[in-house]
């Protein structure tokens, strides 16, 4: 069973397509990072998967169930970018409301996590800092003991220390409970630490969707003479090429460096930025990880 499966998924707001022709499969047990520029459709895609928005075209399933269905609600937790909380409530009442809404609720996990964060149960949610509110929302999402966690920009309002802490906690949950996670973020360096699957969205379309290992294994950063770039197009599949004076930096999909070119492994950040610079380049899911132009 796949954690996420979409076929021809599209969502249109009036005349604008936020997500279009989206075919995506994320296997169970993956930590999938959803990257893309602002307005790429990350939030829309996550909201569709969370059952918060209805698709205009196509279908989507989460853990084999339709998003928003009772089966999906029982197994999928989501944290929206807006960190939806009842800000007039105290923390303890917010937790009680969440507990009342769920069949399955790990109260110990929630209490321990919040006390470890030093969050007073009597504090008003609205008085908490943005980072604390995000931590509270994340705690409640995990206290439901979901099998799939959808997180939209969970790290955006956190300081670097809190980011590390949250990611570490997430990884513990993944390791202990076999949790699948899909999360969007602009902080690509952070994604690299935890993501095992990468999805890059650009202009509402899936540009890259593959395991991180396979992407890193099949891409190299090549440095060489700028006037040789044109010839290089005949030798390897080039994702993007940047010229700086006589030198050129090329992100190529290849396992070995061509003659006259110095090669080194790419970082995930280079990979993501390379694809975002060239929206026409795509890596579609499949055994061959074929670059399509």
């Amino acid at each position: 069973m796949n954690a996420i499966e979409t076929r021809g998924l599209g969502k249109r707001y009036r005349r604008t397509w936020a997500v279009r022709d989206c075919d995506l499969t994320v296997p169970v047990g993956q930590v999938a990072a959803l990257a893309g520029p602002n307005g790429a459709g990350k939030t829309t895609l996550l909201r569709i998967l969370a059952g918060l928005a209805a698709p205009t075209t196509g279908t989507a399933t989460v853990l084999g169930a339709a998003p928003g269905s009772p089966q999906a609600r029982a197994t999928v937790s989501a944290m929206d970018q807006t960190v939806p909380l009842y800000r007039h409530l105290r923390v303890v009442d917010q937790l009680a409301a969440a507990q009342a809404l769920n069949d399955q609720w790990d109260a110990d996990l929630a209490v321990q996590r919040l006390s470890a964060l030093g969050m007073a149960p009597s504090a008003r949610v609205g008085k908490l800092s943005a980072g604390q509110q995000a931590q509270l929302a994340l705690t409640m999402a995990l206290a439901r003991r979901p099998q799939l966690l959808l997180l939209d920009e969970p790290l955006a309002s956190l300081d670097p220390l809190a980011r590390q802490d949250v990611l570490g906690w997430l990884m513990t949950c993944v390791a202990e409970d076999g949790l699948s996670v899909v999360f969007s973020s602009h902080v690509i360096a952070e994604l690299e630490r935890v993501a095992s699957y990468l999805v890059v969205l650009s202009a509402g379309r899936i540009q890259v969707a593959a395991t991180v290992d396979s992407l890193l294994d099949t891409h190299l950063a090549l440095t060489g003479p700028a006037d040789a770039v044109d010839d290089l197009y005949h030798q390897v599949e080039i994702v993007t090429a940047q010229r700086a004076g006589r030198q050129a930096l090329v992100l190529a999909r290849t396992g070995a460096a061509p003659p006259d070119w110095a090669a080194r492994p790419v970082t995930m950040e280079e990979l993501v930025l390379g694809y975002l610079r060239e929206p026409a380049a795509r890596v579609v899911p499949g055994p061959g990880l074929e670059i399509v132009r």
Partner: protein
């Protein structure tokens, strides 16, 4: 919606909307207590002055001995205060709908907090009905108690205003437990509909006032007269004397007409000096269609039933709109 879902949402509503859960019955019951206390004081005063017998439903002024009593005169001093209070009493369900009914749903949309509930174990429909259900039930029960207190208070207060008691007067008709509970259910349902349609607190409040105003206007100008014309009793009466006419203090006259011996209605009276003689000369008979006093309770129930039915349609429309346009 299963019983478990209802219980779960009721508990969640308690945590999320404690102000409304406490505020709605609090406001109604406090107002009921005030009306009850005022009524007790007035009734005690009448009892002390041996005037309780003046509060008779079938008397125009409580009887001649009441009219001549100085104590009664000081009690039934013509004043608009009781009528103003009666209007304020009727405004309370509107205020509850405005300040407790509209905001809970509109503010959840406005703040985005609905996304919290929708991503828990509860879907949009359960969220809407599971929160609305306990609130409207609480409001309806509190309003019925408040309506009973208002009814008991107005039995005395209308005498205080110097007007004769007449149960068919609009204020009397509205100040009953059925009517106030019915209006409260309607205000809560309209508040829900406005909140779901508009999804912004202030514009939804304005839309609520306009919609409810239209409903109240239609109820007074069309629904009540239409209801009162249904199931009337018809009686032949004497044109020239008051004999046989239904008592004006307890009944509601819908229509009077003259009829020819062949059973046809007379369309108009001629310009003659002695109408009674003219009627007798043509062997016309005089008829009246009226609502007897024992119909009042059924008409009140019917009107409240119509209000609750309209409320049910408003709730269904809210659910339907949420289904075709979830908050995305």
């Amino acid at each position: 919606m299963t019983a478990v879902t209802v219980l779960r949402m009721t508990r969640a509503a308690w945590y999320k909307h404690r102000f409304s859960v406490v505020g709605i019955p609090g406001v109604f019951l406090l107002a009921a207590l005030a009306l009850f206390a005022d009524s007790v004081v007035q009734r005690h005063w009448l009892s002390v002055h041996h005037l309780s017998g003046c509060l008779v439903a079938n008397a125009t002024t409580g009887g001649s001995w009441c009219v001549s009593s100085a104590a009664w005169a000081s009690f039934s001093n013509p004043s608009q205060t009781p009528n103003v209070i009666a209007a304020a009493v009727l405004a309370l369900p509107v205020l509850v709908g405005l300040f407790a009914g509209v905001p809970w749903v509109a503010r959840e949309f406005e703040s985005g907090a609905f996304r919290f509930t929708w991503t828990q174990g509860t879907g949009p429909r359960q969220w809407l009905l599971g929160t609305f259900g306990p609130l409207v039930l609480l409001a309806a029960v509190s309003a019925a108690i408040y309506g009973a207190a208002a009814y008991w208070w107005y039995q005395v207060a209308q005498w205080q205003a110097g007007t004769s008691i007449w149960s068919w007067r609009w204020t009397s008709f509205e100040l009953t437990p059925f009517s106030i509970a019915g209006w409260t259910v309607l205000t809560m349902a309209l508040a829900l509909l406005c909140g779901v349609l508009i999804r912004r607190v202030l514009p939804a409040m304005i839309a609520f006032i306009v919609t409810l105003g239209a409903c109240a206007y239609l109820s007074q100008t069309w629904l009540r007269p239409w209801l009162f014309a249904i199931g009337t009793a018809v009686k032949q009466v004497s044109w020239s004397t008051s004999a046989g006419w239904p008592p004006s203090t307890t009944t509601y006259t819908v229509e009077t007409w003259l009829q020819t011996p062949s059973g046809q209605r007379v369309s108009g009276l001629p310009a003659v000096n002695n109408v009674s003689a003219w009627i007798a000369q043509h062997h016309y008979t005089s008829w009246v269609a009226y609502q007897p006093h024992n119909h009042l309770i059924w008409l009140e129930l019917a009107r409240s039933g119509i209000l609750v039915t309209v409320a049910a349609f408003a709730v269904l429309a809210s659910v339907w709109w949420l289904r075709i346009r979830p908050a995305d």
